[in-house]
């Protein structure tokens, strides 16, 4: 064989393998929507998305995904409120404050946390956090605390606030969206931290030098120079972190409680979308409406994460020459 032919053959082979990821993505989209089409076609898109009742196994079945979507929203908001500050603070600490010896020790730990099996986190939430909440925290918050408040005899505090604690801080089951959010926070911290840290270290050192030479302190420099300069990378970190939270399956499956109702309070149980897929796929007959409905949930998740990665790609392309979300 002539060497030119061989070179050409290799180039063609390598290039076609290079397209595998594109083909795989197209296949994923195609099959999700193919299997999901039935449910949206037969029941109607709006009725599926805004329907308030998810009773897939009843007769007649009802496939309203609104409770599942709200379950995901509730868990995501609660988690984001904890994970974003913690993740960003971890990144700032590693990139800006930590001594390099501490850094050498902390960075691998965060990386290990990123690949920590989520099923073990769910298991930990089930056997540790849930009993702590329902057996220990609940009596303190809903019994002792109101008693204490009533005893103070201060208007408002002894009446309204005490009643509020009595009503709202009672935790009937430890498996609720707060427990799920706590465990999801552990899952999301390393994702946010590692991307945000890349963004922070990409800020040129001259920026910091300029700030210090003007007499700014360390915190002033971080807050007014480094963070504004890397805000696009930090927002990519937050977006990808939210994507992780929304898509995380095992934790919400094991500790979110599993009730397919719209959660109204932070100690209510919920069934977020990934949990519904994972819990019900085994019991839904092949090609039944329920099966298609679960693929419908998958399609919604796919569209959502696709939009998130489009947005983060747009942000990192627009504001930076260096791609920040590259290390995932």
């Amino acid at each position: 064989m002539k060497w030119q032919t061989k070179e050409k053959a290799v180039e063609v082979a390598v290039s076609s393998i290079g397209l595998v990821s594109v083909i795989v993505l197209l296949l994923i989209g195609f099959f999700l929507f193919k299997e999901a089409f039935q449910i949206f076609y037969k029941i109607g898109v709006l009725k599926v998305i805004f329907g308030k009742e998810w009773y897939p196994t009843c007769e007649p079945p009802s496939f309203g995904m609104f409770p599942l979507i709200m379950g995901t929203v509730a868990v995501t908001v609660l988690t984001a409120a904890m994970a974003i500050p913690l993740g960003l603070a971890t990144a700032v600490y590693i990139a800006e404050i930590a001594h390099y010896r501490v850094k050498e020790f902390l960075k691998p730990l965060i990386e290990m946390l990123a690949s920590f099996p989520s099923v073990v986190l769910g298991f930990f939430g089930m056997v540790v956090i849930a009993p702590i909440l329902s057996n220990w925290l609940s009596p303190i918050l809903s019994e002792r605390l109101p008693e204490l408040l009533r005893g103070t005899n201060i208007p408002f505090i002894s009446t309204t606030l005490a009643d509020f604690c009595y009503d709202k801080l009672f935790i009937s089951s430890g498996l609720n969206i707060t427990t799920a959010a706590l465990m999801l926070t552990i899952r999301a911290i390393p994702v946010i931290a590692s991307i945000a840290e890349d963004a922070l270290t990409a800020v040129p050192r001259t920026y910091r030098e300029a700030s210090y030479s003007l007499g700014a302190g360390k915190w002033e420099t971080i807050w007014r120079v480094v963070i504004p300069a890397s805000v696009s990378g930090l927002s990519v970190a937050v977006i990808l972190g939210i994507g992780t939270i929304v898509g995380e399956t095992m934790i919400v499956l094991m500790v979110a409680g599993g009730a397919a109702v719209v959660p109204h309070w932070i100690f209510d149980a919920a069934r977020p979308m990934p949990a519904a897929i994972a819990a019900e796929m085994a019991e839904s007959p092949y090609q039944s409406l329920h099966y298609h409905a679960l693929f419908g949930i998958g399609a919604i998740l796919f569209i959502f994460t696709f939009l998130l990665s489009l947005v983060s790609d747009f942000i990192s392309k627009k504001y930076r020459a260096v791609r920040i979300g590259e290390k995932v």
Binding site: I17, S21, V24, T90, L106, V119, S309
Partner: protein, 300 residues
């Protein structure tokens, strides 16, 4: 950070204000505390699982199959299942990932196709693992007719980890100095000879490290194998690619949530969780140490 630049930053660490600044020290210590939270939580969970699981772990536990409806005995087929899934997955994904990385770094020209590949890589990296499970169910289990099997599960995992393998391999190849390539081409080697004889050998340690870290990620995943490979119980280790397998993460999930003996099997659950953690974090640590060593050893 580039080696040797740590010292340069030092003077700024020594910058001290004469006056005690409340705002400065408040926020700095707040960040310090928050920054350690993740690591502390990891250590707490590790210690908890290790404390409860260590007395279950024994030679018998990891070499015997489960008996008495999984309330007793060991987890041998479960460990074997996870290892087989991971190995087959890696055998499929590493060639594809490395070839894609070669395509991206050496053959691709800027333009539509490159953008498409990059875009699909980023999107694949963001897709939830349970959606990969659905994809594996629809394609590998049903259309390719593999059934719930080792092969279907391994392929699903391979699809999931592909973007990670591509990006780590790409980084490893990009880290090979351009002068290596120039020297090889100047000697009259063709492009493919250069890639095969010069660039790939130089990039192999980096690719290997990325693959080991990828292996750690894959072996802890549950959602993708739930509908494609994992079985509640199989009597022994799988004899062919088309048999369902038991896997460590799924075993923990099943024992902890389903069945009638949830409380009785707690020790086995802790033992399985500890085995999985040792496997995953061990691989992870190996990857991290290898990477640190390479960074120290690099001659160029």
């Amino acid at each position: 950070m580039i080696q040797g630049t740590e010292g340069i930053q030092k003077p700024f660490g020594l910058v001290r204000k004469k006056r005690f600044n409340l705002k400065e020290s408040f926020f700095l210590s707040l960040i310090r505390m928050l920054g350690f939270t993740g690591a502390i939580l990891l250590i707490i969970i590790l210690f908890f699982v290790a404390y409860n699981g260590i007395h279950v772990l024994s030679w018998k536990f990891i070499t015997q199959p489960p008996v008495e409806a999984m309330t007793e005995g060991g987890i041998f087929p479960v460990i074997v299942g996870t290892i087989l899934l991971t190995i087959i997955c890696m055998m499929v994904v590493i060639p594809i990932g490395v070839a894609t990385a070669i395509f991206l770094t050496e053959y691709s020209k800027p333009g539509f196709i490159l953008n498409m590949v990059m875009m699909s890589m980023y999107t694949l990296a963001g897709i939830p693992s349970v959606v990969f499970g659905l994809f594996g169910l629809a394609v590998f289990v049903v259309i390719f007719n593999f059934g719930m099997s080792l092969l279907a599960g391994a392929l699903t995992l391979a699809v999931m980890i592909l973007p990670y393998i591509i990006s780590t391999s790409e980084e490893a190849i990009k880290a090979v100095p351009y002068s290596f390539k120039e020297a090889s081409l100047a000697c009259g080697a063709t492009k493919w000879q250069t890639i095969r004889k010069v660039i790939l050998p130089a990039a192999t340690p980096g690719i290997l490290t990325g693959s080991i870290l990828g292996t750690a990620k894959v072996s802890g995943e549950t959602a993708p194998i739930m509908f494609t490979a994992a079985a509640f119980f199989t009597p022994g280790i799988p004899r062919s690619l088309f048999e369902p397998v038991m896997a460590l993460p799924y075993h923990i999930y099943v024992l902890a949530t389903a069945g009638t003996f949830i409380e009785e099997t707690r020790p086995i659950q802790y033992g399985t969780a500890l085995t999985l953690i040792i496997l995953v974090l061990g691989m992870n640590l190996l990857g991290i140490l290898l990477r640190a060593r390479q960074r120290g050893k690099k001659a160029w």
